[in-house]
Subunit: 330 residues, 2 copies
DNA sequence: AAAATTATCGCAAACGTTTGTTATTCAAAT
DNA sequence: ATTTGAATAACAAACGTTTGCGATAATTTT
């Protein structure tokens, strides 16, 4: 069965294509009676306009591209859900591609976006490798690029991200409040700038405001590493009383060790993490965390995209504020 | 900056559009020397073909639609990741829309798919409400529909899903192996056919093969409900020694209660669930589970889609087999 | 009653491709 | 020297829309 087209409708109604087209968009030139006829037939033949023909004619695709390292990710999927919702409300569809942390895939995805003449792209850089020139070219072609989460250092782009330093500091504040004596702070992949920022902010804050608290700093790039780091540090003579986890992956490893060693939270040990909230709520007591909401970030990214598409370039770096969510783990 | 087109290339090279087009696709009619020139210029002006013009001409969009209830979902996101990967390998792009369990959104998404002339759609029904006619129409228009996970009863469609009954039976088998005396079996939303199937299979198997085991059956539509159900049942005089969780949501609730009451796994109580594996591995000891892999299902769905697009209609219902993954919880 | 306005609609070009057909050139075969 | 046949490239139509402009008929104004 072939698709219904304007031409088909026009033939059936003995009208011209242009009249049918205008009737369907409620153009004032067309009489009410013809509009009624046209709409009726369009309905019954369930006509749907061909988006490809429209974009070819209007040069406006109403499609936004999204590049994430991985869709299966607690943070990114809520980000995607948020922009999907906003996009739909505003008449845009989403084309979602994942880079799998692979710059080659990232490039390939960008190519697909260009072939599909997306009106804009949300991009999260695939780890450290920064091939910025391609994005620069998109901007030059008036395709706004909004970076999120993992953003380039370059300030020629629009960027939205969590207030990374504030997150770390907020965690530190609560550790100090708890009257911790000996803290283990586990950070993520040390190649990521986000890790470096958070670590630096955390360290500085602790030194400035609670120099007598003994802190050991480590990195763990995976759940497994976190599990092992935790195990090592609880076997030492002087037991740690509080552990800070920079990511969900780390928290999971830490919690596995805590459960294995049957440590009581929060009496034996306090736990605090940075998370979007899903993982911390899996345990009893619920883990206290500083919230980084992918959902909020998504909404912010979308308004930035719209702003970029309407007005001139607004090259700014926006951050969404962090919130401390108290569980029973501190 | 305007996009590079065939016309532009043709003008620069003093060639016709058709020659440029053929040169770029390595058509035998074109001489090697012109091909070289064309490719060089196309490269330097970084020409990317306009996907919209191509689809308009060829009537083949190379885009597949996906409808899921929610992207942020442990199961669906791995499904999406799988078909995304397969699609990319086969030159397809994905258009992902979420229904948010809302039939109205589902309809709207279908409309967007039709406007974009997707070559096929993967669909997961939004809960119980089944508005099948729309899908029937798509099939009539030679747009293959592959249902996954939550599928219609109708057998006029191609469907892929987990082997639901086998999952439940496999769990039952392992419960019997454990020598359980008193079992609490918690199932999901009782309106879903998937729940009914699993429950029936589980019950029948237990009665047939281990009638002396005392089983209580309940439903819990959310994590909270599961938490409460679990709490109630552990306070009874005759303690349960094994709990079965049909979904991740239920497992999370159950585990929260277990941690709160400080029950030891697997000595005080055994736990088994049906899951894709992420949640069960968050705990120590790791929870034993019957695996329902969104990833496997995605790959299966994709080959079904390809089969439908090539040959004639292959209206079958395929299932991916379940696997028991032993943790330390039984 | 002629002129001016308004209401309604059709014509045709354009968006960027692909592809069947035709035209040109040039060398090989008769 | 003419015919044949490759090799190479141009022409033109079509895909389904949108939209400026022109055309016709109906209505109003003078």
């Amino acid at each position: 069965m072939t698709n219904t087209t304007l031409k088909l409708l026009a033939q059936q109604l003995q009208l011209s294509i242009s009249t049918v087209s205008r009737a369907l968009k409620d153009h004032p030139d067309i009489s009410a009676s013809t509009k009624a006829k046209v709409n009726a037939l369009a309905q019954s033949m369930d006509y749907e306009p061909n988006a490809y023909a429209i974009q070819l004619r209007t040069q406006n695709s109403k499609i936004l591209g999204v590049i994430v390292p991985a869709i299966s990710n607690l943070f990114y999927d809520s980000f995607i859900a948020a922009i999907e919702e906003e996009s739909r409300k505003n008449g845009y569809a989403l084309m979602i591609l994942q880079s799998s942390h692979n710059p080659e895939n990232e490039l390939n995805n960008l190519k697909i976006f260009r072939q599909n003449r997306v009106s804009g792209v949300f991009a999260c850089l695939s780890s450290s490798a920064e091939n910025i020139e391609v994005y620069q070219k998109m901007n030059d072609r008036d395709i706004p690029v909004v970076f999120f989460d993992i953003v380039p250092k370059d300030n020629k782009f629009t960027k939205v991200r969590m207030a990374d330093e504030r997150c770390a500091i907020m965690a530190a504040e609560n550790i100090i409040k708890r009257n911790a004596k000996k803290v283990l702070a586990i950070f993520g992949d040390e190649n990521l700038s986000i890790t470096q920022k958070r670590k630096a902010a955390f360290q500085k804050f602790m030194q400035d405001f609670a120099p007598k608290i003994h802190c050991s700093y480590t990195n763990a790039a995976s759940t497994k590493e976190a599990e092992e780091v935790m195990k090592k540090n609880t076997h030492k003579t002087q037991k740690i009383d509080t552990v800070f986890c920079m990511t969900d992956e780390i928290l999971i490893g830490v919690m596995r060790t805590i459960q294995e060693l049957e440590l009581k939270i929060p009496t034996d040990i306090g736990v605090i993490s940075i998370s979007n909230g899903f993982i911390p709520n899996l345990y009893y007591p619920r883990i206290s965390y500083v919230e980084t909401s992918g959902h909020e970030l998504g909404k912010l990214a979308f308004v930035q995209m719209m702003a970029n598409m309407k007005g001139g370039k607004t090259l700014t770096e926006l951050t969404v504020e962090a919130k401390f969510i108290a569980g029973g783990s501190m």
